[in-house]
């Protein structure tokens, strides 16, 4: 399977690429290639999965990425990590707000709310975020796992689009059993 990894000038992009690589042939492209008038057009149709990387700043700083994702057909599979999840959350009707204190290089454990994801319950996860996703009742996102210590959405899935997203960093060395999350992503992509 082929994955397109959109890099938001992040410093963990190649960890993400190497985490994905046992299951996907990964092509890394800059978010700037999604800007209107970019010379480096991406043929995104050929990819089985689009991954939105973590990155600095907030979803509002990447309107071209939001625009690109919004125009994809609902069946297109998209996986968002950290900033990637925040971008998807805004598109799904949620909001993104500052979180105090920010958590960078900190560890939590997953508390799973959905039986389908019970294999992830209690796993240690790495967190790098200053912003949080608010998933309201009217949001198209469903929260399937939260952080055990502060009850923030950590794993969400879209109710009708093929979007899956994590606030934590599956590619970090602080995350326990990263291969389990990859296995899940792989079988989700095959569905």
């Amino acid at each position: 399977m082929k994955a397109l990894l959109i890099d938001h000038d992040d410093s963990f992009t190649y960890n993400l690429r190497n985490w994905l690589s046992p299951a996907f042939s990964v092509e890394v492209r800059s978010h700037r290639d999604l800007e209107v008038g970019s010379q480096n057009r991406i043929n995104f149709e050929s990819f089985n999965l689009i991954v939105l990387s973590p990155g600095p700043k907030s979803p509002n700083d990447y309107p071209h990425v939001k625009n690109f994702i919004q125009n994809l057909t609902p069946s297109k599979k998209v996986f968002g990590v950290c900033l990637g999840m925040q971008i998807l959350n805004e598109l799904a009707g949620g909001s993104v707000l500052p979180y105090t204190p920010p958590l960078h290089g900190k560890k939590s454990r997953l508390s799973v709310l959905h039986p389908q994801y019970s294999k992830f319950n209690g796993l240690q996860i790495a967190r790098y975020h200053s912003l949080q996703c608010k998933v309201s009742e009217t949001s198209e996102f469903e929260v399937v796992a939260v952080s055990d210590n502060d009850n923030l959405p950590m794993l969400v899935q879209h109710s009708f689009r093929n979007w899956l997203a994590v606030q934590f960093h599956p590619e970090s060395f602080l995350t326990e059993k990263p291969e389990l999350f990859l296995e899940h992503l792989k079988s989700w992509c095959r569905q």
Binding site: D9, S11, P98, H104, H129, S130, F173
Partner: protein
């Protein structure tokens, strides 16, 4: 020619006064092709190199330089000896003693203001960590050799060097930090983050401190990224960066630190590797690109030699330090710098104390 000394294997030094100097002056790029040309021209010779912090970044044109300096210098050694540190010091026996008093070029109030700006930017989501540094300056009429001799035991870093960059400028490094080492096809980096006075308890006051833990952990993930970027074929499990040590102790007498070790297998050459890893993650911040932009907004002076890299290179093997705890002597001026990694949990007063602690043995006033 003025004799140069550079750390080598097994606590020994390379010493040479017969070398060819190649320099690269362009700060806006071209480091890769400069190093590739040097390697092509002198493939089998031992080289000692020094690369500035700004050599691979484009954001620092507004910063004030402290002294004239090329972006990179390579000493191609025509002949050299491998000598002990005692032999190095013996050669400097007649260098005399220098008296100097350092003055910080950054006021405490300004340093604290900068720490608070970084914390505000972190809270806004712009970045996770930024390394903020400042220079100190002294008048020094003695030689660079006398500076080496005076601090060689008290600063005690493993990666020491004395490099005459020009007739007027000499670098004296006592770096304790390994930036990159390649033997056979294994590439290693050992970032240092987390600092504590040496009279405090390592386990209680450093290892159990969650702020110090996070500060190093995020740099480990950053350096994993930089090493993971080197090889284009990540489906090969060997080319995946591994954390081989995490939060190990480094005791330097005047300060204690935690460091980690990350390694990756690669057959790439030094110029290709440097493209992926410069400037060093532990002295810039995370995410790196954004932290470099913020540093260029906050720091007044160019870092030049400081937080660049110094070391030796021969064929596919090399060992480079991260040029911290480093003096630069230019004419009768002596410079030294210190810096701190700022995260959201950083306390501005404590970071100022850490800044002073890192200048612990050099006779500075603030």
């Amino acid at each position: 020619m003025k004799k140069l000394f550079c750390f080598y294997k097994n606590s020994e030094f390379l010493a040479s006064d017969d070398y060819t100097v190649c320099t690269h002056s362009d700060e806006s790029g071209g480091l890769h092709s400069f190093l590739a040309q040097v390697q092509k021209r002198y493939p089998s010779q031992m080289k000692v190199l020094q690369i500035n912090f700004e050599a691979q970044t484009k954001n620092f044109s507004g910063q004030i330089p402290l002294y004239p300096c090329n972006a990179a210098t390579v000493f191609v050694l025509n002949t050299f000896e491998i000598v002990s540190e005692a032999a190095v010091l013996n050669e400097m026996a007649s260098a005399g003693h220098s008296e100097f008093q350092f003055q910080s070029l950054e006021l405490k109030s300004s340093f604290i203001e900068k720490v608070n700006i970084i914390k505000k930017e972190i809270a806004a989501g712009r970045l996770y960590q930024a390394n903020i540094t400042a220079p100190l300056k002294a008048v020094c009429t003695g030689t660079a050799e006398s500076v080496f001799k005076q601090f060689s035991s008290s600063l005690s870093g493993q990666y020491k060097a004395l490099l005459p960059l020009s007739d007027t400028t000499t670098v004296v490094s006592f770096s304790p930090e390994l930036f990159l080492q390649k033997e056979n096809s294994v590439l290693i980096t050992r970032p240092i983050k987390g600092s504590l006075r040496s009279d405090r308890n390592f386990e209680q006051d450093l290892i159990s401190d969650s702020k110090e833990d996070a500060e190093l952990s995020m740099i480990v993930d950053l350096l994993r990224n930089d090493l993971n970027r080197i090889e284009n074929a990540p489906e090969n499990a060997l080319s995946k960066a591994k954390v081989t040590k995490h939060r190990a102790a480094l005791q330097l007498g005047y300060i204690q630190h935690t460091y980690s070790e990350i390694e990756v297998e690669t057959d790439k050459s030094l110029p290709e590797i440097l493209d992926c890893v410069l400037p060093g993650g532990s002295i810039s911040g995370c995410p790196k690109l954004e932290s470099l932009i913020l540093i260029s907004e906050l720091e007044t002076y160019k870092r030049q030699v400081y937080t660049g890299t110094i070391g030796w290179w021969m064929g596919s093997e090399f060992c480079l330090n991260l040029a911290i705890r480093t003096f630069i002597k230019h004419d009768n001026s002596l410079y030294y710098h210190a810096g701190c990694g700022i995260v959201y949990d950083s306390d501005a007063e404590k970071e100022w104390s850490e800044f002073i602690l890192k200048t612990g043995r050099i006779n500075a006033s603030f």
